[in-house]
């Protein structure tokens, strides 16, 4: 369905060429200072036409707030918002009507609904993500103001061009020696900001790699083709305690959210797939005492989550985006009636989605964390009112003082 969340709930509507796209955001904490500009900033990072690496369609995507806010402050009631579709040209793609476009959703929508929108990607269009980006901007503002949470996503690969993330092992046995991720990359995770990310149109914060990525995208564009890539996202200052065992572990919620973004094919958290290749003795994150006396971990191969619950370290993960299915290059494929033919898309499209995917990844991350935070706040607040536990051994119980304050708060 089109709703995400338990306490922070986002519901979106809209196809690629209908009157508007929009969302209702329910459960935003009351008393949050919020303006249209807070939302517009991220919408602008998502919209097409930002550089010659993206589709030349130029849509302003101006958000119109309808409810839930008065004099710039949220009321706690649902925030309705919509963005007019300026591009309502249903016939732009019309010559392709006899073909289900390969690796698009034309065929599956017809199988599912028995009917599909006349043109464009319908509900599977990237325009649907506008509502999510708007909702994410609201979530993010709360997270930043209340907990100083920082969410930064960036492009970590385009095609075979990767940020230098790993040091290849030269050991024959291999697995004993290599770390899943290089120190250089871990430093990047600690320091990267949206401002450094936006310094290059690829949204890769490593200048040399960014330039190579740009050339790769241009090569795809010139070939009337497309190319995939990955986006990495890091979350700093996240309070510990978020994520609900069993089914709603924090990494499970993030994976769900990321794979709900169009064109995604994979998700890995912390050490991810590379972490499967090293022994436990190397992969375990030993505890150390931090300067403030609290516990932290020496390494962070866990990606800030243990047992499905955030531990206060940085959460970081990587998302795979396939090459866009819409290409101008001719393709041999069957029509709905089974006859084989040649299809060439005429519509404008992105040769690579990852630069524009960055704010979408940030938005879905913010939505997930906001919802998980609200759920945990309830538990912490509820537990803080109970009488002290005096009958259990101390290793089973958090010190009473911390319980009363409620860590998540």
């Amino acid at each position: 369905m089109s709703t995400y969340g338990t306490l922070f709930r986002v519901t979106t509507y809209g196809e690629s060429h209908c009157a508007s796209v929009g969302a209702i955001i329910d459960g935003c904490p009351p008393g949050l200072q919020l303006s249209a500009e807070d939302i517009q900033i991220q919408l602008n990072r998502r919209r097409p036409g930002q550089s010659d690496l993206t589709t030349p369609r130029n849509e302003k995507d101006a958000v119109q707030l309808q409810s839930g806010i008065e004099q710039g402050v949220t009321l706690g009631t649902p925030i309705g918002l919509f963005i007019r579709n300026e591009d309502q040209r249903p016939h732009d793609y019309s010559e392709t009507d006899l073909y289900p476009r390969p690796s698009h959703a034309d065929y599956t929508y017809l199988e599912k609904y028995g009917i599909k929108a006349s043109s464009g990607g319908g509900r599977s269009s990237a325009r649907e993500t506008i509502g999510r980006v708007a909702a994410g901007a609201i979530a993010e503002k709360y997270l930043r103001l209340a907990h100083r949470v920082e969410i930064v996503a960036f492009v970590s690969s385009v095609g075979k061009i990767h940020l230098p993330t790993t040091v290849e092992s030269t050991n024959e046995e291999g697995d004993e020696a290599a770390e899943p991720l290089s120190q250089e990359f871990r430093n990047l995770l600690s320091t990267v900001t949206r401002s450094t990310v936006d310094q290059h149109p690829t949204r890769c914060p490593h200048p040399e790699t960014a330039e190579r990525m740009k050339q790769r995208i241009i090569r795809a564009k010139d070939a009337s083709d497309s190319i995939g890539g990955t986006v990495t996202c890091v979350v700093r200052n996240l309070p510990p305690g978020l994520g609900e065992p069993v089914f709603d572990k924090l990494e499970a919620l993030l994976a769900h959210a990321m794979l709900s973004i169009p064109a995604t094919k994979g998700f890995e958290i912390g050490s991810g797939f590379r972490g499967t290749e090293v022994p436990g003795s190397q992969h375990n994150d030993a505890f150390v005492q931090r300067e403030d006396g609290s516990l932290g971990t020496q390494t962070n191969w866990s990606g800030g989550i243990q047992g499905g619950i955030s531990n206060g370290e940085d959460v970081y993960f990587r998302v795979a985006f396939k090459p866009p299915a819409t290409i101008s290059k001719a393709q041999t494929t069957a029509k709905y009636d089974g006859e084989s033919g040649t299809l060439a898309a005429r519509g404008r499209h992105d040769p690579c989605v990852v630069p524009r995917a960055v704010p979408i990844v940030e938005a879905m991350t913010a939505i997930v964390l906001m919802d998980a935070l609200l759920v945990q706040k309830s538990r912490a607040a509820a537990a803080s009112l109970l009488p002290p536990i005096t009958t259990l051994p101390p290793t089973m119980v958090m010190p009473q003082k911390a319980r009363e304050s409620g860590r998540v708060e």
Copy 2:
């Protein structure tokens, strides 16, 4: 929380050392022939003590059905079931009480709840997955009887030892030439069965690789260490139309379910992360007419899902499992009070979880598909009762005959 699903709902309870673990499965279709044996088969594949590659703990894990079934037939009402915990020894792990175990959930549970179980993994224990495996066996039986759906998972890597899945490109440019997955691997996906998977204790269906994996696991065991791996799962004969745009795309639901399994770090579907490296012209799955006149795709880099909706091709995906955090090897780490010390686990544990994870991956897959199927059945049945659509161009509408029959049925 501890509930998964919209129409097929699974709720589990139980810690590692409490009286029992169990589940309530709600929404099972009425009239399904179901016995305890149907469930026990998969529980037996999950339980410890199956071979020298797994923990020597030997628990029978015998399921006891409580409700929702009469004379071997489901009533459509909730199926309550539980499995006694034979190993209720709370002091087995007691010497570790002063330490939060590295990369375990001890620390985060305490942060989240302010209290934790006295010993063992509590709710993060792998024993919690017993309820899921039981629920999955029920889902699977329906899927098989009603739609001939086949779900087979197998071990695709242990440490750096991988099934031969890809052919490395020798082309310098690289991305134009290589396919994300080799033909040999794709053949395996089409033919692998649980019976072939179970022929080797590693549950890898490729004998030579299996043997190397076994040696790798034994090496980890002998080193008082552990090692990670990956499980690949394929679903055959899945009806098209499953998966709910926007937030509940089928791959998003699968990613959520997989990352909810303890020790998982990643998920990729179809071409996955490798698919990000090839151009769209190579990645797109062209449509072809099948022998029965319907449309299929020539390749299947999409992994059987397009736009979040199943297309009738095989669904396949890969899940990353980290090396088990419990190792006998001594680790330097801090106690709860911040003091550094040396911790060595005495408890019995698996040096590698992937062989036993196979039935868990299958179970979570079955649960996800069952729920998605029930949701889609409702839509198909509802649409089938409406008057024919006569006013739209034919490319927007599935032929009336197909609409009436309801594809998913």
Copy 3:
């Protein structure tokens, strides 16, 4: 929260004086012919200014469809819609700002959110029901087209003036003799239509009673006061099998929906509170064979629901609406600061809400039934694919033919 439903989901937004009110309706079956006019008809029955019995505010409440529909046919994707608020005068009520209005939500919104809309009823305003009426009109169209379901609500009392529903017992013992509802009233339930309901501005289909009600409302209006009343609703041709034991019995869902309408204070189904006064031997609905061979019930004190599941008989229930809290008459009450004072509302208001509540009751009924129907369709479709049950005694199983067809379809 602001979302209702499992498979047919309605989410609304909007305060009384914000830019617009609206809704997203998710899960509407694809292929349904739907126009703005289908929705506008019920919005017009709800809007103020219809007669001299309602508030003189005259708002057009014109619905604008945004998505989910193309060329007059639903796509199965979310239907976004909104209605501009013409009356955005935030200062109309401003003199009352120092007072929490008695029996309004001013005080409780402030307690709940720590902030409230500057004026008007905010989210508790009756304007919020616009989105529900729109959603209900969509649900109703499906129910009518696919199952010939008829939903008719009408005013059954205003103050102490009641439709003649019961025959008072003259028997001294009392309870043995009287029926909970008179034959005349049961006849009305079988025959009443929206057209007969709309013949009188009170929406009471009994002309003499309607006229007395009208006088009662005018008396309240002239006294700068208000008066309550009840609305009765009947649903005809509802398929059997709707409603989900245990927590989501059909009557529980209806009660929830009705008590979610502003100003409601009670709900009773079938014989209701009067049914508590008669013996079981009189209250039980004996089964009889209908002309088509199927089973029906001789009486229908159950109100069409047994064990929480619809039985194919008419569903009918009654909803209590309190007298509107907004009155022009002066009231002695405390200000926010605790000081006592005199408050007299200046705003325009309805002296009695029940005439305008009729389409709201119908809408919430349609939404509940639609959602319950979609859930049951899934079960019926799923069960229909299973092999015949041959091992159970025939009294435990519905004949196979009926199972295969799926009764709800």
Copy 4:
């Protein structure tokens, strides 16, 4: 389905004659002292065989806690519990197998599921409520410890014998003079305790009325018949701010919960149906300053809820229970095959359910309030972390100090 709640979630399983009935309670705050005895007390008030007014079946209904609790303290993880069915005699009712019992769920279960339990009420049996009573006892313990909430239900009518709740108006015009509920009854609401309720087997706290009720029940029993009644419930010390506009108003949640109890036919809150008969000037609850400086209301016709949100006054409501459908008296009714015949139940049954319904009403009330409280705690905690609102007029904002403390805490 069989799950209730958003953050405090209760899932039950079990038919009347299966191996056990049970529940999983998820979301209980961690750190709550909880023993089996806390639960057993309410189970004992619900179980059959308590007096000669109830069924002579004598089942111990001893609860067995499985998980989520260690050394008498909750862990915050799901609490699994079950109660063995001692009465597993599937043939007790067997002679009735050819008949769908009038006003029972036999017929509708068969319509819904295509199959039904061989005997007894299956899932519609009152035994299903055992899991709810257990869950309610847990919720109640938290509410009492953390907020001193008191929940007391009692029998307010049996047949036509009512507690003296109202003073009949002698005024000809009627509605101007009468109050919906008498002062005597309102005093009862303020003072009634479980101990006074349990002093009489009818659970009516008004001795003379209780005795008349008892005679009425005995008369029904002697006549092989049954009789209905009502239960009234009052909640004292409930924090303000509970209940979620729009769809989940607190009264809507309560109505839902009450109508989900078997045999219920109606619900009214505060003034209820009688409140529809008085003018707004009389019905409005004027605000007054309480001794502690806070605001309260002079009257409480609202029943402690305004705009769907609790206001800190007592919440009270009344629930209608029909006469039990199972009677020994012969009934003329049709068999499944349509043939008319005579049916007389042999099984043991309650002539009147209201005495045993009292703890069930209390339990469902506690479950609803607990869930609503947890949702509101999250909002209050989230809002308390935001910077002060300085730009809005004071009548829109709760004083900052109250915001920071979070009223619900």
